[in-house]
Symmetry: C2
Subunit: 238 residues, 2 copies
């Protein structure tokens, strides 16, 4: 589901870049610097990530509009091209031709022909549940939330004990990476709604948790490597 | 198309955050600082943006696998639920029932039933042309490219003339935002392949360019505001 991808893009970026920045800023040995710099980057980053999501969503909406207009033009100016196009939709499924012709005939005359072609030929969902705005907000919120967590410890340690803050920040980030990994795996698993095999309910649960924990550990490793690389580069060049 | 959305997310983020950072670093009045800091952020940012794209792509691939397994389980354990499910696929198109039954019968027995349900009920394309890796590389490349352009001027101005570099950087960024906006609108427009209305070829071209220029101007305004906000926040808090 697209909302999960948007959230993943925001969160994983948020859990890496801001953390690397705050770690770099901790060299100034003053939590105020870390906090101000961190929050500044967080707001700026959320704006620009949200903007990216909005523009991408707008592009997809425009693509849908263009394709719909083109499809309607095709139907009105090239009616002869419709039956072959409808046949091509079903050809991968090797259905016997006699079962196809009645549906092609009724579709060719149906007022919903354009919608059908959009859905099954162009494979563009009719009302995409993802508006550009919701995509933008999801990514921005993911980024802000992801970047804010590693900042939290710096609010609590005293002003000159930056290294303590950094240590806590690393721990907090590892924990949130793990939670993010588990949550994502569970959400991805749960969203395949058709699993009604009651009988298998039992071991599916056990298998489910094993996979979720693996997803969590993997996220910690991957996120940790990325944050470490980001931090290393910032230190080396900064 | 997904590749365009990935590129948009990378490019627009790259054209905003690194620029804001370099503008902030120009306060040190030394192009070396701007260049090193800028390139460090650029590499760190591309890694973490690419990671986000990879994780999002993996999430979608896993979602596809789970749904496919669930669909196969449903077919084997609940054959009775298949005809109604197939009917539900076509119901939005108000097709006369008699034209539906032959296709429902042949589909129910077809070896491609699972593929059909994945495609038309779950609306998940069979082999998504977007692998997690290609998604990651597109976003990372977009970010790196977007962030590198505003850095270019700092290579050419002499070391202490940072403000000159900044001025050029603003100009270069505005130009690339415009080019990005035009390119996106043209690409989105061109990719609706079915437009064969030769007659309208002429004015569609004129309309096309007007829209593309508007897309470019809009991108400059939106990107400029975001970069300005990012820069303002960095300065205010930094
Ligand atoms: Co980013
Ligand atoms: Zn076959
Ligand atoms: Zn036919
Ligand atoms: Zn269903
Ligand atoms: Zn109707
Ligand atoms: Zn039936
Ligand atoms: Zn086509």
């Amino acid at each position: 589901p697209r909302v999960l991808s948007d959230l993943t893009i925001g969160l994983s970026d948020g859990l890496t870049v801001p953390f690397a920045l705050t770690a770099g800023l901790s060299a100034f040995n003053d939590t105020k610097v870390v906090l101000y710099g961190g929050i500044a980057e967080l707001i700026a980053g959320s704006i620009s990530m949200g903007l990216g999501g909005w523009l991408a969503g707008r592009g997809e909406a425009e693509f849908y509009e263009n394709t719909l207009t083109a499809t309607k033009t095709l139907i009105s100016t090239h009616p002869a091209s419709i039956p072959p196009l409808l046949h091509s939709i079903f050809s991968p499924y090797n259905l016997p031709p006699h079962s196809l012709s009645p549906i092609v005939q009724s579709l060719s005359k149906s007022p919903h022909l354009a919608a059908f072609i959009m859905q099954f030929h162009h494979k563009l969902p009719l009302s995409s549940d993802r508006t550009p705005l919701s995509s933008a907000l999801t990514i921005a919120a993911g980024y802000f939330f992801g970047g804010f967590i590693p900042l939290l410890p710096y609010f609590f340690v005293s002003r000159n004990r930056v290294l303590l803050g950094l240590a806590w920040s690393v721990g907090v980030m590892a924990a949130s990476l793990f939670a993010f990994g588990v949550g994502k795996t569970v959400l991805v698993g749960a969203s395949s709604e058709e699993v009604e095999a009651q009988g298998e309910g039992g071991d599916r649960e056990k298998r489910g948790w094993g996979k979720a924990v693996r997803g969590g550990v993997e996220m910690v490793v991957v996120g940790g490597v990325a944050a470490g690389a980001a931090m290393g580069i910032m230190q080396a060049l900064g």
